[in-house]
Amino acid sequence: MLEARETGAVSLTLGPVLFNWPTPMWTDFYARIADEAPVDRVVIGEVVCSKRSPFRMDVISDVVERLERAGKEVAISALALPTLKREIAEVAGLAGCGHLVEINDVTALAAIAGTPHLVGPLVNVYNEETLAELESLGSVTVSLSPELPLSSIAILGAARRKADLEIFAFGRAPLAISARCYHARAHGLPKDGCKYVCEQDLDGLEVETLDGQSFLAVNGVQTLGSGVTVLGQEISQLHAMGVSRLRLSPHTCDMVAVANAYHDLLDGRLAWSELASTIEALNLPAGIVNGYLHGKSGAVNVS
């Protein structure tokens, strides 16, 4: 088993479902995660669009309870771009929700500063001074932006004091957030009358170039890379740098199998090459990429 110098074993975090999955599918997904997935922490809640959350209001407390009964640590994620009064109030209200909270912007940070909390990958943490500032505000895990190269991660790993560092290890990398809904726009609908068209694309809406090359994926007001980030060979190096958590971002492929593969890799029962082939066989929405970590464009795969 991989042992970090200071942090002990590497653990797995299941990031929030970023897409608009129908509520029954969403509930079933978390039931299976609770029962079968070897993840230590589950971050749950709507990050992208506040119009989606009402459908899950009735079920979320059961889902959280079930995950906790299964021994998972549960954190509630905050909305990435609150702008409406109702959204701002919702984000501020998370501070008193009785659970660990993962912030995704400074609105949430302002609400929770001074209380232990998690920092999601949509918050800009690029250097050791920002990391120290967040630690002083109570951040206990900082999930780094998928954009960061190994050279920066090494420095953050050496500089960290209280906070665990987490790396985006699996899934389509979140790239941008906007006030405009591209899903509604693609369907010729206004945002306020979107008919929840994002529910049709469970891994995001494919965006190709005019030459038919896979490029991006649209998820409501969010844009992701089309390529699926899969880190594997880099993990022992990341671990040695002080990264102690791997984030797996949910897709429609078998996420229990993804979590098992990473768990086996961390336990030394699976080689990196086997992890890659196991994951590649899982019907991913697109090809594998890992360029960001190597200081290259995020869309490329460096073997």
Binding site: L81, T83, I88, D105, V106, T107, L109, A110, A111, L122, N124, V125, Y126, N127, E128, E129, T130, L131, E133, L134, S145, P146, E147, S151, S152, I153, I155, L156, A159, A173, L175, A176, I177, S178, A179, R180, C181, Y182, A186, P190, K191, D192, L205, E206, V207, E208, T209, L210, Q213, F215, L216, V218, T223, G225, G291, Y292, K296, S297, G298, A299
Partner: protein, 325 residues
């Protein structure tokens, strides 16, 4: 309302001041600012001369140090802060939480503005920056409607600056990695978006193909207006149909809603375009100067004559009107 104008070079700074800017913003010739483009920006000496020129004519200079400092390289950003203060800059425009914390400790008397790159779009977020780092002004992200801006201004203890004209980010600034996904270089890390070094224009038969990092961003047939291949303004395929799926090549122009922005309590208007030439700058600054003077005097606003300077020849009021979303 204060008119805040871009200056990519010392001569652009003089042009903006002479054309009626109340304040000019600019950056150093390195990755510490979000317009780190070839041939642009200021040496410390050029900045000091520029500040002197502006101050002699009653204008202010704001220095943008608004990228996110590279891990292990924060000294470069600290030095930029020190050099800007030494050059007698009137305010520094910062985005990075760590840099804000450092600058507010090291130079508590220095006026700080919060860059749009910090993406502070709500009253609690802005109050956090004001209370913890003492920012005196926030540059609001281009994601808000005029009504939302009015609501924010009423609830924050600092001034609000909004974008008035020029290139338009459709993604929340400071929270967009599209450029690095295609090229490896981003606004946050490198101060560039869709960098020219990764651009390739190629005539292919009768169409001109514009690529960025090998990805085709658009194609133009003969005689069709072309655009710079900024990622979010490209033509892409969704469900087999070609479209500007994020935004058309267009420029923001708030001239028609100036009275509403004033009524919303906005303190300053920002013109985008440190990378644009003096011809653009002079025309835009003069137009907004006369519009603001007319507004203050209660006269009818002049009609926009800036169509030809806009991207794709199109104008929009962007997120300021709710229908844009």
């Amino acid at each position: 309302m204060e008119l805040v104008c871009p200056a990519g070079t010392p001569s652009a700074l003089r042009t903006a001041v002479d054309a009626g800017a109340d304040a000019v913003y600019c950056g150093f010739r390195d990755e510490t600012n979000a317009r780190n483009f070839p041939g642009l920006n200021f040496t410390p000496q050029e900045l000091a001369q520029g500040v002197a020129y502006a101050h002699d004519r009653g204008a202010k200079v704001l220095v943008a140090i608004n990228t996110f400092a590279r891990a292990g390289g924060t000294n470069l950003w600290h030095r930029a802060v020190a050099q800007a203060i030494e050059a007698r800059a009137d305010a520094l425009i910062l985005a990075d939480l760590g840099l804000l914390a450092w600058a507010s400790r090291a130079y508590p008397a220095q006026r700080l503005h919060l860059s749009v790159q910090a993406a502070a779009a709500t009253p609690p977020a802005i109050r956090f920056y004001a209370e913890r780092y003492g920012i005196k002004r926030v540059v609001l992200p281009r994601v808000l409607t005029v009504n939302e801006i009015a609501g924010i201004v009423a609830e924050i203890p600092c001034e609000a600056e909004v974008f008035a004209f020029g290139g338009l980010c459709v993604m929340t600034e400071g929270r967009c990695l599209l450029s690095s996904y295609a090229t490896g270089e981003s606004p946050n890390m490198n101060g560039v978006c869709s960098p020219a070094a990764h651009v390739d224009y190629r005539q292919e038969g009768t169409t001109l193909a514009a690529r960025l990092g090998g990805f085709t961003i658009d194609r133009y047939s003969a005689g069709q207006p072309a655009a710079y291949p900024t990622l979010c303004k490209g033509t892409f395929m969704v469900d087999g149909k070609a479209n500007h799926i994020f935004e058309e090549p267009t420029s923001l122009n708030v001239l028609e809603i100036l009275p509403a922005l004033k009524a919303a309590g906005v303190s300053a208007l920002k013109i985008e375009g440190r990378q644009r030439g003096k011809a653009y700058l002079a025309a835009v600054v003069r137009q907004f100067r006369s519009a603001l003077d007319a507004l203050e005097a209660g006269r009818t606003l002049p009609a926009s004559t800036l169509g030809a300077l806009t991207e794709g020849g199109r104008e929009t009021t962007g997120a300021y009107k709710k229908t844009w979303r």
